[in-house]
């Protein structure tokens, strides 16, 4: 079934959908750079003699050849000091990555690098000397800027990825990962993407112009990950996190002018369902109604909402500033999954860790559809305003709304659906009976979203979508001199209690 036909099927069933949605090896440093991965042919140039930049032009296209701030004086062997300079010592990022050993720093001078870098070596750090000046450019032909495959403890710092067909930075199967001061701009799927990876940190980063999500964490439980101080704008979704949770914190970040802001969801199209236990705190979420972004189908369905928990369980959304949305500031809604791959997990399976769940066989009989309801979420102390439908809404489709055990307290909000939400479902108090008429007073009417999606402004090609210019973003402090810090002890500690609700 095509994506379009899936959308049509969704409309036909009249139910809600909101979801988001290779390498080399070498544990020992090679004496000479080894070429591998999906590198442009230029990187297959003769192996470089370690020498000066003047006599050894980089094989990779480097538009800006400004010398790195830490140009080595004498080099006997690239990386002998644990720092592998690109392009002075290695002609490409891939060559340096392949030569690196755990603990090494791949330090990249300003320039444009048309590479798709694969990383399979543990505990290396890949750093640009200038965030804006070190640009990995896929030219709409290469798939991922940097792809970390199963390697532990890899950190990517202080650089820009743009114009890739798939992802800017992609961690998959990684235990320990970090992306810091990374910009991902005009990317075909996700800006920064951590899949099937745990113990991670994404921080001080920027994502714009992806049809799916600027930032995405998928398939992990417990994830043990923090998204902190990121900006995500003009994407289909600001943040998406299918089946990701368990000590997963999204904090201190800004999600604006996407089709929809923060959208964790459940689905059997990835393993480790359902989605569980995110803490979304201290974020500024506004104006996620943007009509001219690239957008996958579910971004169209979720359009006009700030935070949408779609079939997620046990999430906490607190102390966020949320405003200016065509539909809701915060919504807890079901997710109807067409073309399911398994049956729904029973409630006693909600605590099953990913490592165990992934080994379980799929159901013998797989239903065509799954309806994931949003249970046990806590929505408190948020400042929500200027929502054209309601500031806070919750609705069940397959189960009565009053049986979903979500709670709402302390929010600054003018409207809600149901109308007396903080009365009938206050946190720490017994909720109104499921058959209480208050549950159906001024309902959210989430099925209308399907109708609205039919007429939503269509997706714009990510290659040509009008985007704001990359804003002036902070560089990593002391990029030229800071020692390598592999991502071996992630995530960083975060004082959640100290996080205050942002103000305009």
């Amino acid at each position: 079934m095509s994506v379009n036909s899936k959308v049509l099927a969704l409309a036909a069933t009249g139910a809600l959908v909101v979801a988001a949605c290779g390498g080399s090896s070498g544990s020992d440093r090679a004496e000479v750079p080894v070429q591998s991965g999906e590198i442009p042919e230029a990187t297959e140039a003769p192996e470089p003699e370690p020498t000066t930049a003047e006599t050894d032009p980089p094989a990779t296209e480097v538009a800006d050849t400004a010398a790195p701030a830490t140009e080595p004086e004498e080099i006997d062997e690239g990386g002998a000091d644990g720092v592998l300079n690109v392009p002075d010592e290695y002609p490409s990022i891939q060559a340096a990555v392949d030569a690196a050993v755990p603990g090494d720093l791949v330090l990249i001078a300003p320039g444009v690098y048309n590479e798709a870098v694969n990383v399979v070596t543990d505990e290396i750090v890949i750093r640009g000397l200038e965030r804006e000046g070190v640009v990995l450019d896929g030219e709409f032909e290469l798939d991922n800027g940097i792809r970390v495959l199963g390697a532990t403890g890899v950190a990517v710092e202080n650089l820009t990825t743009q114009n890739y067909t798939d992802n800017g930075v992609f961690f998959t199967g990684a235990t320990g990962y970090r992306a810091s001061y990374v910009t991902a701009y005009r990317i075909g799927d996700y800006g920064i993407y951590a899949f099937d990876s745990v113990n991670g940190q994404i921080e001080h980063s920027y994502g714009a112009g992806s049809p799916d999500a600027g930032f995405y964490i998928g398939q992990c439980y417990p994830c043990n990950a923090v998204v902190d101080n990121v900006i995500s704008e003009h994407n289909g979704l600001g943040y998406s996190g299918t089946n990701a949770g368990g000590n997963l914190i999204i904090a201190n970040s800004t999600f604006n002018n996407n089709r929809a802001g923060i959208v964790p969801n459940s689905g059997s199209y990835e393993l480790c369902y359902p989605q569980r236990q995110n803490l979304i705190v201290g974020n500024t979420v506004y104006s996620n109604n943007q009509p001219d972004t690239p957008a996958i189908d579910v971004a169209l369905l979720a359009m006009g909402n700030g935070v949408v928990v779609a079939g997620g369980i046990g999430n906490t959304v607190e102390r966020n500033l949320i405003y200016d949305h065509d539909k809701t500031g915060i919504a807890l809604v079901p997710f109807l999954e067409e073309g399911a791959n398994d049956d729904l997990p029973s409630e006693d399976e909600w605590t099953t860790e990913c490592a165990e769940q992934r080994l379980e066989p799929l159901a013998d009989e797989i239903p065509e559809q799954l309806l994931w309801e949003a249970f046990d979420n806590v929505i408190r102390d948020n400042d929500i305003s200027d929502s054209r439908a309601v500031d806070i809404g919750v609705e069940g489709v397959g189960a009565p709304t009053g049986e979903l055990r979500n709670c709402f307290s302390g929010n600054t909000a003018a409207t809600s659906a149901p109308a007396e939400l903080e009365v009938i479902a206050a946190c720490g108090a017994e909720a109104a009976a499921a058959d209480d008429p208050a549950w159906t007073t001024s309902p959210l009417n989430v099925l209308q979203w399907l109708v609205d999606a039919e007429t939503a402004p269509p997706s714009v090609d990510y290659e040509t979508a009008e985007l704001p210019p990359i804003p002036d973003l902070d560089d990593m402090p002391d990029a030229a001199t800071a020692p390598a810090e592999p991502a071996t002890d992630m995530p960083r500690a975060l004082d959640v209690e100290a996080i205050a609700t942002p103000t305009r």
């Binding site: 290779g22 390498g23 990835e270 393993l271």
Partner: protein, 165 residues
Amino acid sequence: MRRIALLGVAIALVGVSCAPDELDTYSAPDADAPPATRAPLPTTTTTEPPVEGIDEPAAPEPAPTMTFAPNGETVDVRSLDNSFIQQDIEIEAGTEVNWINGGRNDHNVLPVDESLAWGIDRDTFVPGAEYSHVFDTPGVYPYYCSIHGTTEVGMIGAIIVTEPG
């Protein structure tokens, strides 16, 4: 449709001969192995015809190729985001394997042995698409999605084809 038992994530092959009658020399599943990393598999045990135009390295006198007619059986493999489920399957020669892209992203299915002619690329294997291939020759056929893995890690799988019996 008959579902075939999951072999598990790790398959330690004892023999690497092309002789079909040695293809049942796999160990039991190793559930402790990392789920997305390929355990050692034979470099090639396949005897399917190579793609036209691909030069094959000189090799000793090959064992006789033994192929089997389609048996009407089909086994589904779900291509989720970003895993093949089940990752490794064992089938009898003549069985059809049907890959279903049950994910939300494009994937591809590429045999590790590039000389083999089966597989599907991302332009065709979009969400909801299916692709089938009948494996008529015993052997081990590792494959991967190049978008979300390499031949050895990430989104990988293997078809272990045994003699009917």
